[in-house]
């Protein structure tokens, strides 16, 4: 067997729930109470509704920049649920659900979409960064945050997210390598949704899995069924423990799929994906699978689900209303965010715009 075959053999997909909601890996079942299991489902249903509403608001011209998340709920929310409140999240632009469930108010997420500065004003005590637009920049920064947490003796990790395309960036390799070299308290999640806008993952790399890229950095790597919320949760939980035990960073590849377009700014997935592929992946749907599992345990009902849906709709309505009330942005606000103390060129421009804005 060639070296590469031997390596790739080590990266079998970690799964706990099969597509029909059966436990196929009993020994790997995470210790979660009934309430916690219900909470995971609640968050996924909530996010699916939020995604539908966001798409519709975008089409009405009421939202702005939006990258749909349906299909990736297990990957996003299972991973965030494994974190401690004090852990840091360094998100990519699609990873809004994780930072909202980590503490960013929903109306601020909407304001971020609209391109309003208060969308980035993360409340104190919420350890998340603003969504990253430059693919891969968050990966090297997460290595840095993980080094900082370790140096400060904190029992917390930094988790960062990118996609399959992000794993082609130089910063991906530098981030993994730095984190390994410094034994950083960092977890790297690659949500492999199979397409970087339109380019299929097969064209990104000769590597069969993204998880195996951990090997070259000398860190742990695991490929997870990203449509299985329990597997994702469990993988992140273990990676977190490993990091805090001083055993180093982990690369987690979640196999998932985005049902919608790349963003709502004109991407048309029918140009690069087939209906067959779409339906192959909707059969793996994370909500359907987990619902079946919970119903089998008597932990979920249509009534509960409807309650979550109603709550989500109500919250979104309230959040949009709150976002609508945000003050109109002024150039003087923006100048004020440039430096702790304004240098004289900006001071001068501040006066200029104050005069202009008071007209």
């Amino acid at each position: 067997m060639s070296l590469i075959e031997q390596v790739e053999k080590q990266f079998e997909t970690f799964q706990i729930l099969s597509e029909d909601g059966k436990v196929v890996n009993e020994s790997a079942m995470p210790e979660l109470s009934d309430e916690e299991l219900q909470e995971l489902m609640t968050r996924m249903v909530y996010t699916r509704i939020w995604d539908q509403r966001a798409i519709s608001l975008n089409r009405q011209g009421r939202l702005g920049f939006y990258a749909p998340v349906a299909g990736q709920e297990a990957s996003m929310l299972g991973s965030q649920y494994a974190l401690d409140k004090e852990d840091w999240i360094l998100p990519g632009y699609r990873d809004i659900p994780q930072i909202v469930f980590h503490g960013l108010p929903l109306y601020q997420a909407f304001l971020y979409s609209r391109g309003h500065f208060s969308g980035g004003q993360i409340p104190e005590g919420v350890n998340v960064l603003m969504p990253q637009i430059i693919i891969g920049a968050q990966i090297i920064q997460a290595a840095g945050v993980g080094v900082g947490l370790k140096k400060k003796g904190k029992k917390n990790v930094a988790i960062t997210y990118t996609g399959d395309g992000g794993a082609s960036q130089g910063d991906f390799y530098e981030g993994l390598n730095f984190a390994g070299a410094y034994n950083a308290q960092t977890i790297f999640v690659v949500q492999n949704n199979r397409f970087a806008i339109s380019v299929p993952v097969e064209k990104q790399s000769a590597a069969k899995t993204i998880a195996q890229k951990a090997v070259a950095a000398g860190i742990e790597g695991i490929q997870v069924d990203g449509m299985d919320v329990l597997a994702v949760y469990s993988a992140v939980k273990q990676a977190r423990e490993r990091a805090l035990n001083g055993d180093g960073p982990t690369l987690i590849e979640t196999l998932t799929y985005r049902y919608g377009p790349h963003t709502m700014a004109g991407d048309d997935p029918t140009r690069y994906r087939t209906e067959d592929l779409d339906s192959e992946w909707t059969k793996k749907d994370p909500l359907v699978r987990f619902r079946t599992f919970l119903e089998g345990k008597g932990l979920w009902s249509e009534e509960q689900e409807n309650k979550v849906i109603d709550q989500a709709k109500e919250d979104i309505k309230a959040a949009i209303k709150k976002a609508d009330g945000a003050p109109k942005q002024k150039v003087t606000d923006l100048i004020g965010f440039m430096f702790e103390e304004l240098p004289h060129n900006l001071k001068e421009q501040l006066e200029e715009y104050k005069a202009k804005e008071s007209k």
Binding site: M130, I134, E174, A181, F337
Partner: protein, 325 residues
């Protein structure tokens, strides 16, 4: 007062701040045991330990990410880019990430990072080591760009840079590292970022410059003096933000000015200085403001530096042109 070279003053500034603040960390390629390729961090690892002064893997972008991450977790990172020509590898971290951290978060987060790096012509390095890229940096909103010309300024400005809560690019001209010594107080002191310094008073023509060209300009001023022309030499010390008040005060006094930079002419710091003078002091001018700068080629092959870099003779000639206008 101690006599120090510029590199000793730089080391002294880092030592001062490593002592003053336990959150200061110094890192980069070869900065640990080796003390840096120019010995800027000589002795710092053995004095402060590997936890605070350490080597990084050889990847500039990763160094930038590390600095940003450490900045977010309460540290005050002093990162070294081994030669400033390598900045292109870390451009995203410097101008697109650290420089925008405060803005993107509406004032919530900041990047209290000092980016130290050697640059500058005259020492015959291989390509992409010495390039004068300060104009590129000065164009990026959200960072300050500091270039000291003396050991005294080097120490005071570096301490200010490390204490600054926003990112500061601190460029160290390689030719000045060991070419002369100057008086440097052993105690700590700061020099305000954004403040120029009149290095020589004069009344006939202002020579506005920075970095190694300060010394060429001082030499030119001596030559001009022999011919009865009194030149004032203004050392910008910070090229972003510019000290407009000092520039304008000098131009209003002399009525004539040239701007001298080692960098290529196009879209550089000198162009901005000329524009500011036009905006604010055109009625004080007796002559157009001219520039001494390098030609708009790629930074030259090592053996062509002598003919490419501006020198004091170019400065004398331009100063005479505006004087005799």
């Amino acid at each position: 007062m101690a006599q120090m070279t510029m590199i000793q003053a730089i080391t002294d500034a880092m030592r001062t701040e490593l002592k003053n603040n336990e959150n200061v960390v110094v890192f980069g390629e070869d900065v640990g045991q080796n003390g840096g390729v120019f010995r800027a961090t000589e002795g710092l690892q053995s004095e402060f330990g590997e936890d605070r002064v350490f080597d990084t893997p050889l990847a500039e972008s990763g160094i930038g990410g590390l600095a940003i991450g450490l900045g977010l977790t309460g540290f005050r990172p002093v990162m070294e880019i081994q030669f400033f020509g390598f900045v292109f590898e870390v451009m995203d971290s410097v101008v697109a990430q650290a420089a925008r951290m405060r803005y993107r978060s509406g004032g919530v987060y900041n990047s209290p990072i000092t980016i130290r790096s050697p640059f500058g012509g005259g020492v015959k390095t291989p390509e992409l080591h010495a390039d004068n890229l300060e104009g590129l940096m000065a164009q990026a909103p959200g960072i300050k760009v500091v270039i000291p010309s003396t050991p005294y300024d080097a120490k005071g400005l570096l301490i200010s840079a490390i204490r600054d809560n926003d990112p500061v690019v601190y460029l160290e001209h390689m030719k000045l590292y060991r070419s002369f010594r100057g008086e440097v107080p052993e105690e700590e002191y700061t020099i305000e970022i954004g403040k120029a310094d009149v290095k020589r008073e004069g009344k006939d023509v202002s020579i506005i410059t920075y970095g190694a060209m300060v010394h060429s300009s001082l030499k030119a001023a001596e030559e001009l003096e022999k011919e009865g022309i009194s030149a004032e030499v203004v050392d910008l010390r910070t090229v972003s933000p510019l000290d407009i008040d000092t520039i304008i005060a000098s131009v209003e006094k002399t009525g004539r000015a040239i701007v001298v930079q080692e960098a290529q002419k196009q879209a550089g710091v000198g162009a901005t200085v000329v524009a500011e003078i036009n905006d604010r002091a055109i009625l004080s001018l007796e002559a157009p403001v001219l520039r001494v700068a390098a030609p708009d080629t790629v930074f030259p092959f090592a053996s062509a530096e002598d003919v490419w870099l501006p020198d004091y003779k170019d400065i004398v000639e331009k100063a005479k042109t505006v004087y005799n206008f």
